[in-house]
């Protein structure tokens, strides 16, 4: 008797969300099975990768992370173009690090202007990520929404503490929101309900469950994402039937294990290889847990993940 693969039957489907607009718009979601369980259901849109760009030169990156972007880190537009032209980025995530009130504390107008310049210069979808500070994000992201009206940006993080004003602006100026909650299935769902009550349609929401690197609690992130997908696909939990985005690169590249030079800790091996693998492995784990978009940094880590997605989705 031939072997039969045991299969789960699913009753739910992840909604499709279109990121960006025009020819290069990216559609994510649409799954009718657990991630890459292609033998059980469909994954019409494969997971996508967005490449990071910062609005100020990073001062705490290891050499390995900086090397691919030499010469462009002080120019977000050039940086974004390099990612697209040279590293074939399908999406850009502009991290508004300069607006951090505990850092440069750059004002909303100036930050929004940078976003507009980048948005004007590229044709792939643009994700704009604030600093996780409710007051500052409210100020900055609202301004960004207004300045980049109809650019169909992906704006976040939008959290329980600041969702009203940011989401209202995103809704008013026609952008997509990143609903960000602190690693809890219930909090994720509650925020989606609140956004829904505010009038944000499901196809303008993507979930950020909050993620962390290998060695820093990624098991917990995995478990929460897995539960979100189980609720969405097997328990018809409509408010969780949305794609998931994972802002992972910034988490992996700040860890001690990545930053410490090989000279200081020879047992950890080559610094560059270590950083790339740490990023790639973390991203892969999140994709297996249900991530639809991963935000990544190093071109070699990205290549590894692209290969992996291709192989895992081969029929």
């Amino acid at each position: 008797m031939a072997f039969e693969v045991p299969k789960i039957s699913y009753s739910g489907k992840i909604k499709e969300v279109i990121l960006g607009k025009g020819d290069k718009a990216v559609t994510v979601g649409g799954e009718t099975s657990y991630p890459l369980h292609l033998f059980e259901g469909g994954m019409p849109k494969l997971p996508r990768i967005a490449m990071e760009v910062y609005d100020m030169p990073p001062d705490d990156w290891p050499e390995a992370a900086l090397a691919p972007f030499k010469g462009v880190t002080d120019n977000p537009v050039a940086w974004a173009k390099k990612c697209i032209d040279e590293y074939k980025a399908e999406m850009i995530c502009l991290q508004l690090l300069s607006t951090d009130p505990n850092g440069l504390d750059r004002g909303a107008d100036e930050a929004a202007e940078v976003v507009r310049e980048v948005a004007d210069a590229i044709d792939v979808p643009l994700i704009v990520w604030g600093t996780d500070n409710h007051e500052k994000d409210t100020e900055v992201l609202r301004k960004v929404c207004e300045t980049c009206q109809d650019k169909r940006l992906v704006i976040g993080p939008v959290e329980e503490g600041d969702y009203k004003k940011i989401a209202a602006a995103a809704l008013g100026y026609n952008h997509t929101v990143i609903a960000s909650s602190p690693i809890d299935i219930n909090l994720a769902k509650q925020l989606n309900i609140l956004l829904g009550n505010l009038g944000v349609p499901d196809n303008q929401i993507i979930i950020d469950p909050t993620v962390s690197s290998i060695g820093y609690g990624i098991e917990y992130c995995y478990s929460v994402m897995e539960r979100i997908r189980m609720a969405a696909l097997t328990q018809q939990d409509e408010k969780l039937q949305l794609p998931i985005i994972c802002n992972i690169a910034r988490e992996t590249w700040k860890t001690k294990e990545v930053k410490i030079p090989a000279a200081e800790e020879p047992k950890l091996g080559d610094t560059k290889k270590r950083g790339i693998l740490m990023e790639a492995m973390s991203a892969l784990i999140l994709l297996l847990a249900g991530g639809d978009v991963v935000i990544m940094r190093h071109p070699e880590a990205i290549d590894l993940i692209r290969d992996m997605i291709t192989e895992l989705s081969a029929s």
């Binding site: 329980e160 219930n186 509650q190 309900i193 829904g196 009550n197 505010l198 009038g199």
Partner: protein, 641 residues
């Protein structure tokens, strides 16, 4: 300054009670008030962190450690935290309305006697009190019939009442010779049933006193103690009394009481405080019924485990330490007098057995009164007090849990929270067109604060009107001046200062909402966790019995709207009032029910929620109005926007 060896004495006069007390220099003002029998609310048990025990020093001096609980304005007026103040001169002290615990107002519930009588759902029991009076006409001894007085008494009981295996208390031995000869060998013996087969003669009186046969039933709550005087001949309630548990000055909840008991002399102090409360109630009960204390033969007390241990003087320390084991579940019968209760020497106290550290005899008592153990219907029993206790089950199995709901429903942790007394805002509606409130208070008195049932009504109305969102935050975009930013974040003004008793705007804040949401989430997560553990769901419940004084006043519809009660057909909800007192009374009337109570305590399995992962997950899901999973509350419709 040193406090000299010649210790000065000062007189402290408390207003509005007009009570004087003389104390040593340096005496703590809050303890002075307690010693004088003046009730001061002290939520934190004198740790100086709650600010509820503030008093006004009208004249004289105190030495006071100042904390941020007294504002500059109040400090200038002479307001001091009594727990942080020491007496350094003669004083006149006024207890402001907010800090005062008024006994009179508790009597609101006494009107409920008849409903409480009807509320006993238990059926099929015999009227057969565990303490009986037997009248005997003995044959006087002669030279031929010269057995001892005791043998003569026992022989008489055997002949007239067919009772054997009876022992005699030492007190009876000591006085029997006189008593039997006082009224020509006609005596009344009081017999206490000790266990299934043994009884003991605990008292003997000359003549026939059978018509005067009474007992007390007490519900010794963390906040209030309720007592009833019972007629053991007719099975009737003769009098009711209620007062705050005087332990309240040592903390509002059981945890702070346990903490207090660990201080030097603390346990003794707490025991004395509750016994003083009981003694006052006893006096009130016998005075109002016009009976004599010597005719009272029995006491039944139902209380939570901590209260029982404190009443009996048993160190409660381990009740709050994992794995939360009580010292006793069934306390031996003990003489009430031996712990200082003002009754005759012969009166024994029976404490209804408890199940676990946080599931006490009060719950066993309520389950008994509600007859949960008798039927096959799947029942959810809820007692919302300072803690929320829940039981699910029927005649086959019972599962219990205690949810740390906190004192929210008794007004604790709420900025303008108070217990359900005159002036408490209870009824609340909101005009959807202009978002103005329509408020009713208990007894239509000027508003003073918000009681637990009021809080539920307010939250439900605000939610339905879209004034708060489902996470309990104010919708600040609404066109109303009622919502403003206050010192604790956003708040909604319920009553403006000129229309209140306290001279300040009465508001409900986002912090209040958070506390309410946490409390109701703990309750709801408790039901769900219990049901799941037996492979069942809330929707399978055939009846929900709501016990407790607070419970009797809640609006079912609104409680469901905020997710405190499960969304079931409304006719499945039954109120039984104070279940604890109900059970204590029934046990006083029936040996059958006393035995049933012991059986019920034995058949309950306690689920410890504080260490239960499923509970935490259910709790997180319930931190939303009404719930994260809207499917569980199909009848609740939330306004969007």
């Amino acid at each position: 300054m040193t406090r000299g060896s010649t210790c000065n004495k000062y007189t402290v006069h408390f207003k509005p009670d007009n009570i004087d007390i003389v104390v040593d220099e340096g005496a703590n003002l809050m303890e002075t008030a307690v010693a004088a029998g003046v009730h001061i609310n002290a939520s934190c048990g004198g740790a100086g962190v709650c600010g509820t025990c503030n008093v006004l020093i009208k004249s004289g001096q105190v030495e006071s450690t100042r904390t941020d609980k007294v504002s500059d304005k109040d400090y200038k007026k002479g307001i001091r935290q009594s727990c942080q103040s020491r007496v350094t001169s003669d004083l006149i002290v006024e207890i402001p309305a907010g800090a005062r615990l008024e006994k009179a107002v508790l009597t609101r519930e006494i009107g409920d006697i008849t409903t409480q009588m009807q509320a006993a759902l238990v059926s099929g029991w015999r009227f057969d009190p565990p303490v009986k009076k037997l009248y005997l006409e003995l044959i006087a001894p002669t030279l031929e019939d010269n057995v001892s007085d005791i043998s003569r008494l026992l022989r008489g009981i055997k002949q007239q009442y067919k009772l054997e295996n009876i022992s005699v208390s030492f007190e009876v031995l000591a006085k029997i010779a006189q008593i039997v000869r006082t009224d020509n060998w006609q005596v009344t013996a009081t017999i206490l049933l000790e266990d299934n087969s043994n009884s003991k003669i605990i008292n003997i009186e000359p003549g026939d006193t059978r018509t005067r046969h009474y007992s007390f039933a007490f519900d010794t709550g963390t906040t209030a103690v309720r007592g009833q005087l019972l007629d053991l001949n007719r099975g009737r309630i003769m009098a009711h009394a209620i007062d705050y548990n005087r332990q309240i000055s040592y903390g509002e909840d059981v945890i702070s009481r346990i903490a207090w008991s660990q201080k030097t002399g603390g346990l003794k102090r707490l025991q004395q405080a509750v016994i003083a409360t009981i003694n006052d109630l006893i006096k009130e009960l016998i005075d109002s019924a016009g009976i004599e204390i010597k005719d009272v033969s029995h006491i039944v007390v139902a209380a939570n485990t901590v209260m029982v241990q404190l009443l009996l003087g048993i160190d409660p320390k381990y009740l709050r330490l994992s794995p939360y084991v009580p010292t006793i579940s069934t306390a031996p019968l003990l003489k009430a007098k031996s712990i200082g209760i003002n009754t005759g020497e012969h009166v024994h106290l029976y404490a209804v057995p408890s199940v676990a550290s946080y599931v006490g005899g009060d719950i066993v008592s309520g389950i008994l009164g509600a007859g949960v153990h008798q039927g096959e219907e799947s029942t959810l029993y809820i007692d919302i007090g300072t803690n929320g206790e829940i039981v699910i089950g029927n005649s086959d199995l019972m599962l219990t849990a205690s949810c740390s709901a906190g004192p929210t429903f008794e007004g604790g942790g709420i900025k303008h929270g108070m217990i359900a007394t005159p002036g408490a805002i209870e009824g609340f509606e909101i005009n959807p067109s202009n978002l103005e409130p329509v408020i009713t208070t208990i007894d239509n008195a000027k508003a003073k604060g918000i009681c637990g049932s009021g809080l539920i009504n307010i939250a439900a109305a605000l939610l339905k009107a879209g004034v708060i969102t489902q996470n309990g935050k104010f919708n600040t975009d609404l066109p109303t001046k009622r919502i403003r930013e206050g010192e604790d974040g956003y708040e909604y003004i319920l009553v403006k200062a000129p229309h209140t008793q306290i001279g300040k705007d009465i508001v409900i804040t986002e912090i209040d909402m958070d506390n309410l949401i946490r409390s109701k989430a703990a309750m709801y997560a408790g039901y769900k966790t219990l049901f799941k553990s037996i492979g069942s769901r809330c929707t399978d419940v055939e009846r929900v019995i709501i016990a407790g004084t607070f419970g009797s006043n809640i609006n079912i519809e609104n409680a469901i709207t905020i997710g405190l009660l499960p969304d079931l057909p409304r006719d499945r909800f039954i109120f039984i009032g104070n279940g604890s007192l109900l059970g204590a009374r029934l046990i006083s009337f029936s040996v059958d029910l006393l035995r049933d109570g012991e059986r019920v305590a034995g058949m309950m399995t306690n689920l410890e929620l504080s260490e239960n992962a499923d509970f935490m997950s259910n709790y997180m899901a319930a931190l939303f109005l009404p719930h994260t999973n809207a499917d569980e509350f199909p009848s609740v419709i939330i306004k969007k926007g």
